[in-house]
Symmetry: C2
Subunit: 112 residues, 2 copies
DNA sequence: TCCATATTTCAATAATAATCGAAATATGGA
DNA sequence: TCCATATTTCGATTATTATTGAAATATGGA
């Protein structure tokens, strides 16, 4: 991931509402979540939510697919991966810093 | 790390100049870097740099110590660690996503 | 003390981002 | 076609952040 994309992704996540939205999407997994449901869960009014979803989509952290009358949003896990990789390089790259990896991702947990 | 701190840290990094500054600090390691040197390396004018350094410090991603006439800034690796942990939970937490951890941080490297 | 260097604060401005109601647009079903 | 529901766009407003030169402050050495 190059710097520009990283800044874009970081900006997208650096906002309370959007971080909440992204977390909801991550929890929802690949099945995703309809926009309306996200609004419901987060309490963000539709027009504001739409703005934030566009922002996340633009940063390729979310993806929208139409499903009937609904628009289903999903988290773009690979972008998140790439961002984590970028940040880790910027942190571990030839330096102290440690302990992030082992403890956090336990031995591959099966999604339900 | 709680959400507020995460948003703070993300905001601090979500800006081209600051990301550049933070990278420079990470490269400099625990020895850190004088403000003037950072200005030199990044090409950011002193007053702007000061603003950004304050921002990074406020997010506890950097730390300032006085050394004679210089102010030496260092990266706060532990905060970065915490941020990565937070993001990883928000990504790996019960979901697909993978591959971030194993390859990036090799088998625990002793800090010098 | 006085000077040179290092850094920060001030202040004014410009740029960007967030908020949200109301109106517009899409979609499927009656 | 017509209606109800889902979502987005518009537009006007407010809030926050970034940018920098110039002035202020701090520090060590002559």
């Amino acid at each position: 991931m190059e710097t520009n994309a990283a800044v874009l992704a970081l900006s997208a996540l650096a906002q309370t509402s959007r971080l909440a939205v992204f977390r909801a999407l991550v929890q929802a997994g690949p099945a995703g979540m309809a926009a309306g449901r996200i609004a419901e869960v987060t309490g963000i009014p539709p027009s504001s939510l739409s703005f934030h979803l566009k922002e996340l989509t633009h940063a390729v952290l979310a993806h929208a697919r139409q499903d009937g009358r609904f628009v289903i949003y999903t988290a773009q896990f690979d972008t998140m991966d790439a961002l984590l990789g970028f940040l880790t390089e910027n942190c571990c790259g030839g330096n102290p810093c440690a302990s992030v990896c082992a403890p956090v991702c336990p031995p591959s947990k099966e999604p339900t």
